[in-house]
Symmetry: C2
Subunit: 409 residues, 2 copies
Amino acid sequence: MSTATETETETETLHPISGIYLGTTAAKIRKNGKPDLVIIELAEGTRTAATFTTNQFCAAPVTLAKAHLATQAPRALLINAGNANAGTGEQGMLDAQQTCALVAQELGCSPQQILPFSTGVIGQNLPMEKFAAGVPDACANSAIDGWFAASRAIMTTDIVPKTYSKVVDVDGAQVTLTGMSKGSGMIHPNMATMLGFAATDAKISQECLQQALTDAVTKSFNRITVDGDTSTNDACTLSATGQADMPEITEVSSVAYQQFAAAVLEMMTDLAQKIVRDGEGATKFIAVIVEQAHTTEEALKVAHAVALSPLVKTALFASDPNWGRILAAVGRAGVENLDINALEIYLGEYCIVANGGRAASYTEEQGQEVMQQTDIDIRIVLKRGTVDETVWTCDFSYDYVKINAEYRS
Amino acid sequence: MSTATETETETETLHPISGIYLGTTAAKIRKNGKPDLVIIELAEGTRTAATFTTNQFCAAPVTLAKAHLATQAPRALLINAGNANAGTGEQGMLDAQQTCALVAQELGCSPQQILPFSTGVIGQNLPMEKFAAGVPDACANSAIDGWFAASRAIMTTDIVPKTYSKVVDVDGAQVTLTGMSKGSGMIHPNMATMLGFAATDAKISQECLQQALTDAVTKSFNRITVDGDTSTNDACTLSATGQADMPEITEVSSVAYQQFAAAVLEMMTDLAQKIVRDGEGATKFIAVIVEQAHTTEEALKVAHAVALSPLVKTALFASDPNWGRILAAVGRAGVENLDINALEIYLGEYCIVANGGRAASYTEEQGQEVMQQTDIDIRIVLKRGTVDETVWTCDFSYDYVKINAEYRS
């Protein structure tokens, strides 16, 4: 079960990005034989910004992608599903280097111009012979309209592919943004995300591009959580080919930058929320909104305490307005000198907690009404300051346990 | 399902403590009609130490018990199951005061000499007329051998009652310790515990008694976690009647204090572990042992990251040696400058992670062998210092979701 449905996504139009070509193949890295290898070719002159996981056991491809990105502008992204190449030690790094060399040979560039990404089971070595056969295959079918096929090939426990595409106005110029993401479990990004790959034809400096990506990821991928587990392989990229007819964006204070950054934030928020809607076993999409906090840190403390509470998440699954569990989660969030008599908690539009206890106006019928919905807002008004933050999560169902108990079998 | 079984507990001998009398009744506070009200009478001269929850939405009885304990030595503990009297605002406090007045009237003491404790559903007012009838009933059947009946009456989603009893030697004197605990979900104590009530006939100063309790709770109840949710009602008490034939313990440096404190720690560890074994839906008992940490704080960060990971817990439920999830949890624990190439992780006796990846000697068969067991050790050797800490937890099963999705129905 999932709050996401196939049809939503398949009917979307995915605008090609001039200068971006995507090739996909089934290299049999994963057991089920579905497509699992993607190469995204980036035209000369493309600038790429990226964010990566903060998990200290980060995968070999993450370490290598960071190193490559620091040396020169990438000419291709190599992505495989089915094997995370994480926890694989020295051999994992040698394998990741070899995969880059395979792609470089096909494309006639240096291995340092390839960024590798892997997702799947942790702790198994990459099947290198499958890469040797798969890389030429993927390159052979490279196409400018390859986004949808690619978005399916990067899936693991995802039920639906997650894509976004829009043409926006940036200070009078037409700019196209298209992206995809994957992720369903081990979702609690921290300064990075699961896998997200986006591209645009915008003409923008490397500094401005990275700034727009970092800011967008902070407010999108870094605000979702399925199970509190930060992956070893999280990464998100944004490549700009510069092929749109426009002046280069070079100043973050410019109107063009502001409009571009807003468009990037909208894309990343959409891609991030699609991951939550497709969260493992998810039946509900929950926004935990914390208002009037003193700092971002305390707002996120409260939001995560609620969003990660197994008791809150199982109550949401059961459509049980057991608001006491929300109250208990707020109380243990670790906010110093919290005035429990001042704060208010809302379920949907209804106030459930005020004056240190159940709101006088609250009725069980109100709670039931909200709990029947698929999209639910939990809003906590701390009355301590002016900072608002939102975290998105899903409920906790039998299927979460089933999916994760049976993942490797 | 539970790793605890009824027979283990029922056959235990619970030694009475001279000066402690327990009365139990079914006051119909909970729906199923089982006993739910306990009054523990403390003989004159008894000293009581206590620790309480740090949840800021703490329940009215917690606030009142703290206030009463600060004024004079308690003469009775009043405990009810079925209703937590938490999130009940001003009325909750008036109700808690009234329950103390009812007991004080029966026992001929002041209401300030009663410590109230409640456990059960959050956010509903106490049914006061049921207390009015139940309190005299409970007092009427007060008995020195009432421990086992009381341990059953304080249960909520617990499957088995949790008790401990032992006669120990304290610097040549015979001292008896008997205690009970309850708790199964919303278990992640922080400077306190769910409910634990223990008594001893030891002769000990108030300061030494509180010290022994605080130290024991830190290393026992504060080292267990079922679901990461800290309750609004956690409390633990230790009452010493002073009726044993011994000199009063007044110095923490004395042999008698050291022996007494060790006995208290053994009791609290046993009662805390019994809560984990009876964790909601638990099928396995897990010790997460962190060794050679630099500080207690970082040891606990790593231990909790592993012990609370839903991915690790579902893999344990499935008996799947998916050690990559343990590695990923360690990597996101937030320990600064963690050297992933130096640390080692063991599953039971087998090294699973070394040199930044899977240990060369590790085989899937070794992992399967350990995973088939009911009691499993996960040991993480950080190689950064000399601090060792252990946290106990359980796995995450379908039944956890079932129990918590259906709790109020």
